[in-house]
C-alpha cells in the first residue's frame, strides 16, 4: 500500500467517501499544514520534492508557486486543471472518481501555502458524473470543517468550486482555461504576463494539474527526500501512466518517474494482444512525437523523452500495432488539431485544416507526389509561430509521423 501514492484508492468500493479517506489518515496533512507549518515551510518542502507538473509541460510546482507575489490586496486564485483533453489521457478521471478527497486535501494545503482563499476545479464538460462526485466530496469536506470559513480553527478560509467546461481541447491550455473560466471563448493569452502575476480576473493565479495537486499531501506526509527517492532526484514521485490501444491490459498504472516504457507496455499492460505486433508508440498523449519500436527502450521521465525528441506530456501511452495504417493515424491526428485550433493564430487556424484536407485526399487514394513534403512544409510553418503551444502540439507529431513513416505514407501516393 505504502509504495503506491494514490492508485491504491482505484476501483475500491467507497474509496471516494470521506469516511474511507479519514480511515486512511485523510486530512491529517492538511491539519498539520494549517496548525503546525508556515507557508514558507510548505513552499520549501514542495520545492525540495522536485514535484514536476503532471499536466503536460512538467514545470516544477514549487518554483511556479514561488512566482506568485506575496501579500498585495488582490485576491489570489488556484485553478485545478481537470480538463483532461489530451487524447489518450484518462488518469485524472481516476483520481477524481476514486480519491476526490485526496485532491481536496492537496488543494487545501496548496492554497494555504500560496495564500489563496478561492479555488476552482476546471473539469471537462463530458465528465459530468465525475463533477458531481467532486461536488459531493466538497459538501462532505465542508460539513466536516475542512472547507469554508476558519478551517479547523486555523483562521484560514477556503472555498472550492467545480466549474465545468463545454467541449474544447484548447481550454486545457492554462491561459485558455482562465478565459473560459471568465465566461469567454477559450482563446489563449499572450505570455508574459504569466498567470502567477496576472491570471484569473486579473489576479495572481496558480494553475496546476489534478495529479500534481493530489501529490502534495504525500510530500508532507513522507517528506521531500522520500518523494525524490520514489522517482528521480530532479523529478520526484510516481506518475499515473495511462496505456491504451491493442494491449492485453489497457489501464492506468502508477510507476516511479523514470520507469521503463518497455516494461510499462510489456509487463504492466500485459504486452500486445494476441496476434498483434508493435508498430509504434505515442508516449505522452497525442501531442507527443511518435516512437518506433527500436526507440522504446527508454525511461519515462521528462528529460529522457526530450532527448528522444518526444515528450512525457500527460503520461498517456498510446500503443499502435502493425495492422494500423499510418495514413489513418496521421488523418486522425490532423483531424483532431484542425478541429481544436481556437482560430486566433493564422498559422494554426489555416495550416491545420490544410494538412487535414491533404491527408484526407491521400486517404481517398488521390495523393500526389509532393504531398508529404508539403505537409511537412506547412507543419514547419506552424511550429513556433503561434501564441500558445497548440501549434507545436500539432506540428511536432505530424513532423515525426511523416519522417518516421515516410515510406509507408508514400505508398498511398500516385505518380
Amino acid at each position: 500500500m505504502e509504495d503506491k501514492a494514490i492508485s491504491h484508492f482505484f476501483k475500491q468500493d467507497g474509496a471516494h467517501t470521506l469516511a474511507f479517506y479519514l480511515n486512511q489518515n485523510g486530512y491529517e496533512q492538511a491539519k498539520k499544514a494549517l496548525k503546525e507549518l508556515t507557508p514558507e515551510d510548505l513552499l520549501n518542502q514542495v520545492k525540495a520534492a522536485n514535484l514536476r507538473g503532471r499536466g503536460g509541460a512538467g514545470f516544477p510546482a514549487g518554483v511556479k508557486w514561488g512566482f506568485v507575489p506575496q501579500g498585495g490586496d488582490k485576491p489570489k486564485y488556484l485553478c485545478v486543471n481537470a480538463d483532461e483533453g489530451e487524447p489518450g489521457t484518462f488518469k485524472d478521471r481516476y483520481i477524481m472518481t476514486y480519491a476526490p478527497h485526496r485532491l481536496l486535501e492537496g488543494i487545501i494545503i496548496s492554497c494555504f501555502c500560496v495564500g489563496i482563499n478561492t479555488a476552482y476545479i476546471y473539469i471537462r464538460g463530458e465528465y459530468e458524473n465525475v463533477a458531481q462526485r467532486l461536488e459531493t466530496a466538497i459538501d462532505e469536506a465542508r460539513a466536516q470543517g475542512f472547507l469554508g470559513k476558519n478551517i479547523l480553527d486555523s483562521g484560514f478560509d477556503l472555498e472550492v468550486y467545480v466549474h465545468r467546461g463545454a467541449g474544447a481541447y484548447i481550454c486545457g491550455e492554462e491561459t485558455a482555461l482562465l478565459e473560459s473560466l471568465e465566461g469567454k471563448r477559450g482563446n489563449p493569452r499572450l505570455k508574459p504576463p504569466f498567470p502567477a502575476s496576472i491570471g484569473l480576473f486579473q489576479c495572481p493565479t496558480v494553475i496546476n494539474n489534478v495529479e500534481t495537486i493530489a501529490n502534495i499531501p504525500l510530500i508532507l506526509h513522507h517528506g521531500p527526500e522520500w518523494f525524490c527517492n520514489q522517482g528521480l532526484p530532479k523529478d520526484g514521485g510516481t506518475r499515473l501512466f495511462g496505456v491504451s490501444g491493442p494491449v492485453k491490459k489497457p489501464g492506468v498504472y502508477e510507476l516511479p518517474v523514470g520507469a521503463s516504457l518497455k516494461d510499462l507496455i510489456f509487463t504492466h499492460a500485459g504486452g500486445m494482444q494476441d496476434g498483434k505486433t508493435l508498430k509504434a508508440v505515442i508516449p505522452g498523449g497525442m501531442s507527443a512525437p511518435i516512437l518506433k519500436p527500436d526507440e522504446i527502450d527508454i525511461t519515462l521521465d521528462g528529460d529522457s523523452l526530450m532527448e528522444a525528441k518526444s515528450m512525457l506530456g500527460s503520461g498517456a501511452v498510446i500503443v499502435i500495432d502493425e495492422d494500423a495504417s499510418m495514413l489513418e493515424v496521421l488523418r486522425i491526428v490532423a483531424e483532431f488539431y484542425s478541429h481544436e485550433s481556437c482560430g486566433q493564430c493564422t498559422p494554426c487556424r489555416v495550416g491545420n485544416p490544410w494538412i487535414r484536407k491533404t491527408v484526407k485526399r491521400m486517404a481517398e487514394g488521390k495523393g500526389r507526389r509532393g504531398d508529404i513534403e508539403n505537409i511537412r512544409r506547412v507543419a514547419n510553418n506552424i511550429l513556433g509561430k503561434t501564441l500558445c503551444p497548440l501549434g507545436d502540439a500539432a506540428a511536432l507529431p505530424i513532423l515525426a509521423l511523416t519522417e518516421k513513416f515516410k515510406e509507408e505514407l508514400e505508398t498511398s501516393l500516385s505518380d
Binding site: P75, E84, G85, E86, P87, G88, T89, F90, R93, R124, G125, E126, Y127, E128, N129, E159, Y161, H163, R164, G165, A166, G167, A168, Y169, S180, L181, E182, G183, K184, R185, G186, F201, G242, V243, S244, G245, P246, P250, G251, V252, I282, M286, A316, I318, V319, I320, D321, A324, E328, V329, I332, V333, E335, F336, H339, E340, C342
Partner: protein
C-alpha cells in the same frame, strides 16, 4: 418569445453566479443549466442568458458557438456520442461508427425522425482504457462491440 426558466433553474443559476466575483464568469455553467432545461440553446435562450448575466447577446453567441457541447438545434432524447479519436479507432471505432449509422438510419450530426436519437462523432472522451467508447447523454459505455451497442440502444425507452 424568450424561454422562461423554471423556479428551480433560477435558484440554481443564482447559486452559480454567487461563486464568481464577476457575473459573466458564470456563463458556461449557466448555459449548461439552460441546456438541461430546454435541451438546446436557441437564439432566444442566448438572449435571456445575456440579460441574466448583464452581457451582450453577441457575447453569449460567441461562446455558444465556440464550445462543442452546446447544442444549437434540438437533439434527440438520447444523444449518442462516439469517440473517433486514436485509441478508439485502433480498436475498431470505425466499424462501430458505420454500424451506428446503419442501425439508426442517420449520418453523424443527424437526429432520427422520431426525435429519439441524435448521433455524433466526438474527439477523445478521456476513457481510452475502455476503448472503443461512447457516451449516451452523460453515461459512458466502454469496451464496445456491435452486439454491445445493440444491447445498449435496444434497452433505451
Amino acid at each position: 418569445m424568450s424561454p422562461e426558466f423554471s423556479e428551480q433553474t433560477k435558484k440554481a443559476i443564482a447559486e452559480i453566479v454567487a461563486r464568481y466575483p464577476k457575473k459573466e464568469a458564470a456563463l458556461l455553467p449557466v448555459l449548461h443549466a439552460a441546456q438541461r432545461e430546454f435541451g438546446y440553446i436557441s437564439r432566444a435562450t442566448e438572449k435571456s442568458v445575456a440579460g441574466l448575466l448583464e452581457i451582450s447577446p453577441a457575447k453569449v453567441h460567441e461562446v455558444v458557438t465556440f464550445y462543442t457541447m452546446y447544442n444549437r438545434q434540438p437533439v434527440g432524447r438520447y444523444h449518442v456520442q462516439i469517440c473517433s479519436n486514436l485509441s478508439c479507432s485502433l480498436l475498431g471505432a470505425g466499424s462501430l461508427i458505420d454500424h451506428l449509422s446503419e442501425k439508426l438510419g442517420i449520418q453523424p450530426g443527424e437526429t432520427t425522425p422520431d426525435q429519439k436519437f441524435t448521433f455524433s462523432l466526438v474527439q477523445c472522451l478521456g476513457a481510452c482504457e475502455q476503448a472503443p467508447c461512447m457516451m449516451v447523454n452523460f453515461e459512458y459505455f466502454g469496451n464496445l462491440d456491435t452486439p454491445k451497442i445493440d444491447e445498449i440502444l435496444d434497452n433505451l425507452e
